[in-house]
């Protein structure tokens, strides 16, 4: 297993084509715009070596029996699923942002589960291939990015009907030794600082979309792959200094990128789905289930940080005992722990799939994520409320360091005794970073937008059974439990009751 430093050094071995702000980035490790994201991913490696966290950060490989980083593990028990979300909360607490590596973890697990089922139906050998690939991931402690979402072009059209064929990643050619693929994957978390790319289809495909029904893995610097790093709110503050960035060590959200595949060769041993459109729905839903359940872990870790920051600011401003502050903080805590309860429930209600890997409870995972799309906004709103207007009007670090303005600014921003003004500004910048920037829409759309969760919730709610329950309680259906309690047929019972009422032998109140 690599530690944090070794992970960062391992990225120097990549020779990929990355563009940002119109320029080719020669060394991603040395680029200040990327460093916070790299530090965050490094945390997933570093904590695996910390005896205080190894119990949840590492697991025993079911393939080799060796101790591995949990981010390369296939869940093989309910305990694994529970530890996975504990790991998410821990990393959210340590970094205050997205640590990126869970997308690849969920991709590994989803492809593991689905390739087994494809082979059962079609007699293919995808699962064995994938296990060989997984062994490499575990042995090298790689971070694969999970590349699911395509560019998608005109969403009213199926992938095969798009004006631009590359709107969806697809097979261009099938060769004896592999396939040639082209297309584009969008907003891929941690893409530029991953060792590998693991692709999955973005939606359910039909027969006409056979060539779009595709999953494979390639090295991140494979020939024909180009990255365009995405912009974020206030991103270039990282180039202005340290303080204004808010979270200069770990950044904000995951550092997403567009991945362009131009005639990329993938050898068959790294192809895990090539045309089995009937299994695209399973792969998408399995991945989405794992990923949506995570949000009740990582975002609650972030909530722990922002709740702590809000309470600290309230103390620094001398308002921590005001009843409305206590009420707001309590609201924030209750919402965060509600999401945590949801994600724990996803894990505890998980199940063993035919492949032997464990999957979370899909309905609860979608409920978890739907709560996240609302509650993150709400607890961040309360953080802004508690922090005050200063979070968007603070002077810059340069003005705070300018001898002409430094003294008066720091004196006036001093809070209660014992709270240095620069610390107050640091904390306000952190709250600004977490509550104003890209983290909010990420909570909305990451792992799928609310409408996607609602589709899944409606599909899996068991509404027919709920109607039967209601009909039984209402007396429309026969209630055999009630009949056993009263010791007779329900109709006969009510006839007797009515008769007794008429005879005024029971008191009505």
């Amino acid at each position: 297993m690599m530690n944090g430093k070794e992970y960062i050094e391992s990225l120097r071995g990549l020779n990929h084509e990355v563009y940002f702000l119109g320029q080719r980035i020669k060394s991603i490790v040395d680029e200040p715009m990327f460093q916070p994201h790299i530090h965050t991913a490094a945390m997933t490696y570093e904590l695996a070596h910390d005896p205080e966290h190894q119990e949840i950060m590492t697991a025993t490989s079911h393939l080799t029996g060796e101790r591995i980083n949990r981010f390369a593990h296939i869940h093989h028990s309910i305990d694994d699923l529970v530890k996975k979300v504990r790991m998410m909360r821990l990393l959210g607490q340590k970094t205050g942002t997205c640590f990126q590596r869970c997308v690849g973890l969920d991709g590994l697990n989803a492809v593991y589960v689905t390739t087994y089922d494809i082979d059962q139906k079609h007699g293919t050998t995808y699962h064995e291939r994938f296990k060989n690939y997984l062994l490499e991931v575990q042995k090298n402690d790689w971070m694969p990015s999970g590349a699911m979402t395509d560019a998608r072009g005109d969403r009213s059209l199926r992938p095969s009907k798009q004006k631009h064929p590359d709107a969806y990643l697809h097979i261009k050619e099938r060769l004896k030794d592999g396939i040639i693929v082209s297309g584009m994957k969008a907003h891929i978390t941690g893409a530029i600082n991953s060792h590998e790319i693991l692709t999955m289809p973005t939606r359910t495909m039909g027969e006409e979309d056979r060539d779009f029904s595709l999953s494979f893995a390639i090295p991140a610097d494979a020939k024909g792959v180009t990255y365009v790093f995405s912009r974020q709110t206030n991103d270039t503050r990282r180039l202005d200094g340290v303080l204004d960035a808010g979270n200069p060590k770990y950044g904000i959200v995951g550092g997403e990128a567009i991945i362009i595949f131009k005639d990329v060769f993938v050898p068959w041993e790294r192809v895990f789905m090539a045309g089995e459109y009937g299994f695209t729905n399973e792969l998408v839903e399995t991945f989405a289930g794992y990923h949506r359940s995570n949000y009740g872990g990582c975002k609650v870790g972030l909530a722990d940080v922002v709740i702590g920051g809000s309470n600290w600011i309230a103390e620094a401003h001398g308002i921590e005992r005001a009843s409305h502050i206590v009420d707001k903080l309590t609201e924030m805590i209750a919402m965060a722990e509600t999401c945590w309860s949801c994600t724990l429930a996803c894990s505890y209600e998980g199940y063993r799939t035919p492949s032997g890997a464990y999957h979370i409870h899909p309905l609860l995972a979608n409920v978890t994520k739907l709560n996240i799309t609302r509650m993150v906004y709400e607890w961040m709103r309360l953080a802004q409320d508690i922090a005050g207007g200063k979070i968007i009007t603070l002077p810059s670090e340069k003005d705070l360091e300018n001898p002409e303005t430094m003294k008066i600014l720091t004196e006036c921003f001093a809070g209660k005794e014992g709270f240095p003004p620069m610390d107050i500004i640091k904390m306000l910048r952190l709250i600004e970073n977490m509550s104003v920037g890209a983290g909010l829409p990420e909570a909305m759309h990451g792992a799928g937008s609310p409408a996607a969760q609602k589709i899944m919730i409606a599909r899996r709610s068991g509404i027919d059974r709920k109607m039967e329950l209601a009909k039984t309680v209402a007396g429309i259906n026969r209630d055999t439990d009630f009949e056993r309690i009263i010791g007779k047929d329900e109709t006969a019972h009510w006839n007797e009751v009515k008769k007794k009422i008429q005879e005024k032998r029971v008191q009505i109140y």
Binding site: Y351, R352, P354, R465
Partner: protein, 108 residues
């Protein structure tokens, strides 16, 4: 006569109608002329256990494995039977197939 111990999970939020699945199984076995004795008595010695779980989480199977039970079992769990996904309406048919494999064809 071949005996099957019938165990139901608690039924907190089942994805399938467990009792209907078992009724379908019993009727199916009867139609095929397969003589099987079902018992819910937990102390009876049986040839096979049928674990009827309402959902794929399969509390009953989990508990049985945890307690180290040694009797052979078939686990119906939501829309799965043992290691295979099965639509709810096909659960009785799959269970009959599995039981028939264990006890052999019905006597003429």
């Amino acid at each position: 006569m071949y005996s099957i111990g019938l165990r139901y999970c608690g039924g907190c939020n089942p994805q399938i109608d467990r009792a209907r699945a078992v009724r379908g199984l019993q009727e199916g076995l009867k139609k095929l002329g397969m003589a099987v004795n079902f018992t819910a008595d937990r102390d009876s010695v049986v040839d096979l256990l049928l674990l009827v779980n309402g959902c794929v989480h399969a509390c009953l199977e989990e508990a049985y494995l945890k307690q180290g039970g040694t009797t052979r079992f078939i686990s119906a769990k939501g829309e799965m039977v043992d290691n295979h996904y099965v639509r709810e309406d096909r659960i009785p048919e799959i269970l009959i197939k599995k039981i028939a494999e264990l006890i052999g064809p019905p006597s003429p």
